[in-house]
Symmetry: C2
Subunit: 357 residues, 2 copies
C-alpha cells in the first residue's frame, strides 16, 4: 500500500476539464489497489494571474515542493498571444515551475494505439510499429537564456545556452532509457550552424563511449522534422534540446493519431510533473469536447515513474486500449468510419474508462 500526496494543477482552458478526469482515474486506482492518495489543488497560468496577479504564486510553488507528484493541465490564453507586449504571461508560470523544481528532463512517449492506426493523417503502413520515446531537455536553451530589447527597443534578442553538465544529465537519461528499449538513440541538433549544438554533440559523443551497446545517430533538426513523417519507425529514443524538442514532439503527435492521446513526464531534481502535451485549447474550452485521454495517460505515467506502481499504470493503459477497442472515440480521434453515436464528450469517455478500472 502506497501513501502519497498528489497535487492537481489544472491551469487554463481545457486543462480544467481533462485534469478532472485524470484525478478520478487516480482515485479509482487508489480504491482498487488499496493505496491512500490525498490531494490538493494549486493555481498556475492565466487563472493564477486573474486570482493573484502572479502566474506562479509562492503558495502554489510551496505546495508543489511538498507533494509527491503533480498532475498538470495546461497554461495559456489567447489574450496574451495577441498582445506581444504583455509583461505578465501564463507561460511564465509553467517555465518557472520547471526551473524551480529542476525538471530538466521531459519524457514524451509517442505510441500509437492499434485502434487509432487510421486516425492519423499519415498512412497506416508508414506508422505501423512506430514507438518513439523523446527526451526533451526542459530547463535550458533559448527558453531560459537572457532575453530583451536593445537599440531603443528596435531589436529583440534571446540567448540560447547549454553547459556541458546540462547536456550530460539529459543525455545520460536518454542513453539509460535506450538500453532498456531497442538500444537506438538519435541525438538531434543543428551543429552545422549553432555553437550550442556543437557542444551538445560533443557531450553526446563522449557519453556514447560509455554506452557501446547503444547505437547512436546524429541528425540535424531539419532532417529529423522530415524523417519523422517519412519513416517514423526508424526512431527508438530521441534526445534533443528544449526548443527542438518542443517542435518535434508536437509534430510527432501526428504519429499517435492526435495530440489528445499524448502524455508527458517532466522529471529531474524535484517533484515530477505529469501533463498532456496539448495546450489550453481555448477554442473548445467549456464545451465538454476535449479528449481527456492524454491526462489519463499522464496519470499512468505518474504512477509508473514517480511512484513505481507499474501494475497500476498498466491497468490504466489497458483500460484506454479497451475503450478504443469498444469503438468509443472523442471528436479529435474519430474518422469517417466512426459511428456518430460512439463519439463521446470529455466526461462520458472518462466514465467509460472508469468502468474498466
Amino acid at each position: 500500500m502506497a501513501k502519497k500526496h498528489i497535487l492537481i494543477v489544472p491551469g487554463d482552458g481545457i486543462g480544467q476539464e481533462v485534469t478532472a478526469v485524470g484525478k478520478k482515474v487516480l482515485d479509482k486506482i487508489a480504491a482498487r489497489f488499496n493505496h491512500e492518495f490525498t490531494y490538493d489543488e494549486a493555481l498556475i497560468g492565466h487563472v493564477a494571474i486573474e486570482a493573484t496577479g502572479d502566474p506562479l504564486p509562492a503558495e502554489s510553488l510551496e505546495k508543489m515542493r511538498n507533494s509527491d507528484a503533480i498532475l498538470f493541465g495546461a497554461v495559456g490564453h489567447p489574450k496574451y498571444d495577441n498582445d506581444p507586449s504583455a509583461k505578465v504571461r501564463p507561460e511564465q508560470g509553467l517555465l518557472k515551475m520547471r526551473k524551480e523544481l529542476g525538471l530538466y528532463a521531459n519524457l514524451r512517449p509517442i505510441k500509437l494505439f492499434d485502434e487509432l492506426l487510421g486516425a492519423s493523417s499519415i498512412k497506416p503502413e508508414i506508422l505501423k510499429g512506430a514507438d518513439i520515446l523523446f527526451f526533451r531537455e526542459l530547463t535550458g536553451d533559448i527558453y531560459f537564456g537572457e532575453k530583451g530589447r536593445k537599440n531603443n527597443g528596435d531589436t529583440a534578442y534571446d540567448v540560447a545556452e547549454y553547459s556541458r553538465y546540462e547536456v550530460q544529465r539529459i543525455g545520460r537519461k536518454a542513453f539509460d532509457a535506450a538500453r532498456t528499449r531497442r538500444k537506438k538513440l538519435v541525438s538531434v541538433d543543428k551543429a552545422n550552424v549553432l555553437e550550442s549544438s556543437r557542444l551538445w554533440r560533443e557531450e553526446i559523443q563522449k557519453l556514447a563511449l560509455e554506452y557501446p551497446d547503444v547505437e547512436v545517430e546524429y541528425q540535424f533538426v531539419d532532417a529529423t522534422a522530415m524523417i519523422l513523417i517519412k519513416e517514423p519507425t526508424r526512431f527508438d529514443v530521441v534526445v534533443t534540446a528544449n526548443l527542438f524538442g518542443d517542435i518535434l514532439t508536437d509534430e510527432a503527435s501526428q504519429i499517435a493519431g492526435s495530440m489528445g492521446m499524448l502524455a508527458s513526464a517532466s522529471i529531474g531534481d524535484g517533484t515530477g510533473v505529469y501533463e498532456p502535451i496539448h495546450g489550453s485549447a481555448h477554442d473548445i474550452t467549456g464545451k465538454g469536447l476535449a479528449n481527456p485521454m492524454a491526462s489519463v495517460l499522464s496519470a499512468a505515467l505518474l504512477l509508473d515513474i514517480s511512484f513505481g506502481l507499474k501494475e497500476e499504470s498498466e491497468a490504466i493503459i489497458s483500460a484506454i486500449d479497451q475503450v478504443l477497442k469498444k469503438g468509443f472515440r472523442t471528436r479529435d480521434i474519430a474518422d469517417k468510419t466512426t459511428d456518430p453515436s460512439m463519439i463521446l464528450g470529455t466526461d462520458a469517455i472518462g466514465e467509460e474508462i472508469l468502468k474498466l478500472l
Copy 2:
C-alpha cells in the same frame, strides 16, 4: 531576347550531379526561346575548402556579385558534422554568401505534382490541393547572432536576434505574395516564450493593418509543425524566422512527396540564388541516383523571378509534369506500384526532361 550571365555553383556531394542537369535545362531553354545565356562556375563549401582553405573564396563572391543569377547546388560534408570542434566548415560558405548578397528572403514553394500524390507518407486525401508558399527569413535570427563559448569552454551560446526592419522587409514580401494568391498568411513564431518572436509578431500585426484584404493567422511554431501534417491545405503563404523556416520547410517537403522535388529562391538586395532544398546527401553521392528535379525546378524559379521569363519557366514545369505523367521516376519518388524499368538515374531522367523542352 534576353542576354544573361548565370553563375553555376554546384558545391558539395550531389550538388555537382543535379546542378549539371539544371544547367543543361537552362541551355536548352536559351536555344528554344532564343536567349543568350553565358555561364561561369564558382567554388563553395567543402570543395572550396579543399581547393583554397576558404568555404567562400573571394573570387567566388566576386563572381556571384557580377552575375545575373546563381544556380546553386548544396554544401556540407560528413567529415565536419562528426567533428563539432572543426573551425572551418562548408556551411560557413553558404551563410556568408546569403549575408554578403543580402538574400534575406528565402521562398520555398511546396506544391505537389498530381502524379506524386501517392509518393508521400501522408494520405492522399489529406494532401490533395495543398499548395504552400513559405517565406523564410534568411539573414537574421540565431544563424547570424553572436555565438561562442564561455566559462572556460564549459558553456556554449548563440544569440537569436531580430530588428523591426528585418521583420518588416520579409513580412512585406509575404503579404505581397499572399495578395496574388489565396490571400491567407500564417505568421509562425514562438511569441509565448521568445522576445524576438514578440517583436516579430508586433511587426506583422502592424503590417496587417496595411493589408486588410489578407487574412492573417498567428501560430506558435510547435502548433504549425503539427498542423502542417494534419491539415496542409489550411496554409497558403507562411512567413517565419530563419530557424523555424529551416525546420518547417524540410518537414513540409513530405507534402510534396519528396525533398527531391523542392526548389527554393533566395532573393533580396543582391544576385538571386536558386537551389534545391535538399542537402549534399553524401550517402548517394557519385552513384547517379540523385533526383535532379529540384535543381531543374530551381532553374525554373530563376528564369521566373530573376529574369521575368514566365513562359520559359512554365515550359520547364510542364516538362517535369509530363515526365512524371509518362511514369518516369527517380528512386526517391518511386513506390511499390512503380514499374522498376521506369526508375531512372540522375542523367537519364534529365534526358527525358530535355526531350520535352
